[in-house]
Amino acid sequence: MATKTTNQKAWLFVIPVVLLVAFNAVIPLMTVVNYSVQETFGDNVFFWEGVKWFEQVLQSERFHAALGRQLVFTSIILLVEIPLGIAVALTMPRKGPWVSVCLVLMALPLLIPWNVVGSMWNIFALPETGLLGKGLNVLGFDYNFTRQPLAAWFTTILMDVWHWTSLVVLLAYAGLCSIPDAFYQAAKIDGAGRWAIFRFIQLPKMKRVLTIAILLRFMDSFMIYTEPFVLTGGGPGNTTTFLSIDLVKVALGQFDLGPAAAMSLIYFLIVLLVCWVFYTLMMKDEVE
């Protein structure tokens, strides 16, 4: 057997990636890690604190409350947007001139920047002047999202559904379009009903894209910041203060860099863990 030549030059090819990852991930992350285990009063003077900030964050009721709100928000978002997205995708035409019209209409909300969406909905929902706010009040609903927690939640969720359901629709639609006609014919021949076609053909065939849709919507809604910040500013009170808004309050409002860094890391690990669990569960069948 010929001996392999050993050659270290191959490492050169890896350097660009190493540098890129180092600068946009590892170094910032390590800075955060650095802050999370120390106390600083400025002037680059640091005191070692160990896991104190982590313990403090994990035990703080404020963090629990924000995490709780975040989980409730994300669950509602997934429960609304995924079925709604699938339903809309199912009603979209598969052929003809309306296809492009529908696709463009669907893509529109996705093109609008987050802060614009927040401002738009803020104006739209104002109880005295906004179309939605005024309209609801005229119809007899006592609606004021700047004062009522329930109304604030309702508006925030409605805004996110408006902004992001399209993403689920487009992904689900792509999944549906990839199903050959022969599948529907076969189902028709078997005498399968509408529900059976959905359950046994469309849903399994959409599984991959839906996995992606759920992951994306989970990550995005779990890390949501700009839209609720612009719309409600986390209020009324703390009722729409989600994790990211709380984090910014701690880091920039109170300038508690240590606890904020610890919170960031915990936040990051939660997102990573949940995504991993999701992905593993949903891909279980595929790998066999």
Binding site: Q185, A186, I189, G191, D285, E288
Partner: protein, 355 residues
């Protein structure tokens, strides 16, 4: 039990997909729809099944007019070219699905599925899911689904096209046996003339949305009604040339003419289109009756024991297919021999006049 199409047409928008078609399928053996891609085989099957409603005309089955009766209300099964199975059901559940829909009793269903699985050699795979199977096994599952219910009409739409060669041969042999003792009408679509000959039964040759001819496969091959049918039913393509009959001679061009074979002596004088199948032209002389023709070699395809030679006879290219290896050089002028008793003569309107 048989299926009859009466002047069935199908227009989609301004396009005509099926021109008026009338055919009465044979009760026994396979009914083969032979035609190139886009000839309308699948569309015709969809019309037969009731998946698509004809624009005009009637579909009769077993003495009843079933035009417009949707497929769910008829006892039809179909196998497609792609392997169509329910992705998240096991093979057992897939095969059982048509029986579940009609609500068959558990023990009876179990027995039936197992019997069909045995027949298709799928017993060890019953617990698996379609994406864990090979292409051949997936198609067997689809075939099993079609066989498990006692359908009156079974439509097989190029079921073997996506399988590898060996599996195709194997299944091609098994398929007619599976349907032998069932009282159902079987329709089988294919693009390959060879497949049609191997399966036997009856053949309908399809060309651009029309059935050009229907009858016993063998007869259609021997006596294609017109040039189109002959073209559909020949692979490699049938050789054609304009010839004229003058007295007792067939004249191809200034250099080539021959004494007409006595089989065709009743042919009137005049212009004809000559059709001659590739395996009736050979680079080797077999009898004294052979007509000699010269051609410039264009392509030579050697496949094991056969040579397919494309050559230029002046104004067009012809193909010769013969036993033996003839590694001719490109561009060389070589001699070929036509079997003059195997000619097809078509008149100016492309109808067969002598074969």
């Amino acid at each position: 039990m048989t299926l009859i199409l009466k002047d069935v047409t199908l227009n989609v928008g301004a396009e005509t997909h099926i021109y008026p078609t009338s055919v009465e399928l044979a009760e026994h053996g396979f009914n083969i729809l032979l035609g190139t891609t886009l000839a309308g085989k699948t569309t015709l099957m969809q019309l037969m099944a009731g998946l698509v409603k004809p624009t005009s005309g009637e579909v009769w089955f077993d003495g009843k007019n079933v035009t417009g009766v949707p497929v769910q209300k008829r006892n039809v099964s179909m196998v497609h070219q792609q392997f169509i199975n329910y992705p998240n059901m096991t093979v057992f559940e897939n095969i059982a699905s048509p029986l579940r829909v009609v609500g068959m009793e558990r023990s009876k269903l179990q027995k039936r599925v197992e019997h069909i699985a045995e027949l298709l050699k799928m017993t060890p795979m019953l617990g698996r899911k379609p994406n864990e199977l090979s292409g051949g096994q997936q198609q067997r599952t689809a075939l099993a689904r079609a066989l498990v219910k006692d359908a009156d009409l079974v439509l097989l739409d190029e079921p073997l096209a996506n399988l590898d060669f060996k599996l195709r041969e194997e299944l091609r042999e098994e398929l007619p046996k599976m349907f032998e003792h069932r009282g159902c009408c079987v329709v089988y679509a294919t693009t390959e003339p060879m497949e049609s000959l191997l399966l036997g039964g009856h053949t309908a040759s399809l060309h651009e949305g029309r059935i050009t001819q229907f009858g016993e496969t063998e007869k259609i091959y021997r006596k294609p009604a017109d040039l189109k049918s002959a073209r559909v039913f020949s692979d490699p393509p049938i050789n054609t040339a304009s010839v004229s009959k003058k007295g007792a001679r067939i004249v191809l061009n200034d250099e080539v003419s021959w004494q007409i074979h006595e089989r065709y002596k009743d042919l009137a004088d005049g212009p004809y289109t000559l059709g001659i199948r590739p395996h009736h032209i050979s680079p080797v002389k077999s009898t004294e009756e052979n007509v000699h023709i010269e051609g410039k070699i264009l392509v030579t395809e050697l496949s094991g024991s056969e040579s397919t030679i494309h050559f230029d006879i002046g104004d067009q290219a012809w193909v010769s297919q013969s036993l033996g290896i003839h590694p001719f050089e490109l561009g060389a002028r070589k001699s070929f021999y036509i079997q003059t008793d195997k000619c097809l003569f078509f008149d100016i309107s492309e109808q067969l006049v002598a074969a």
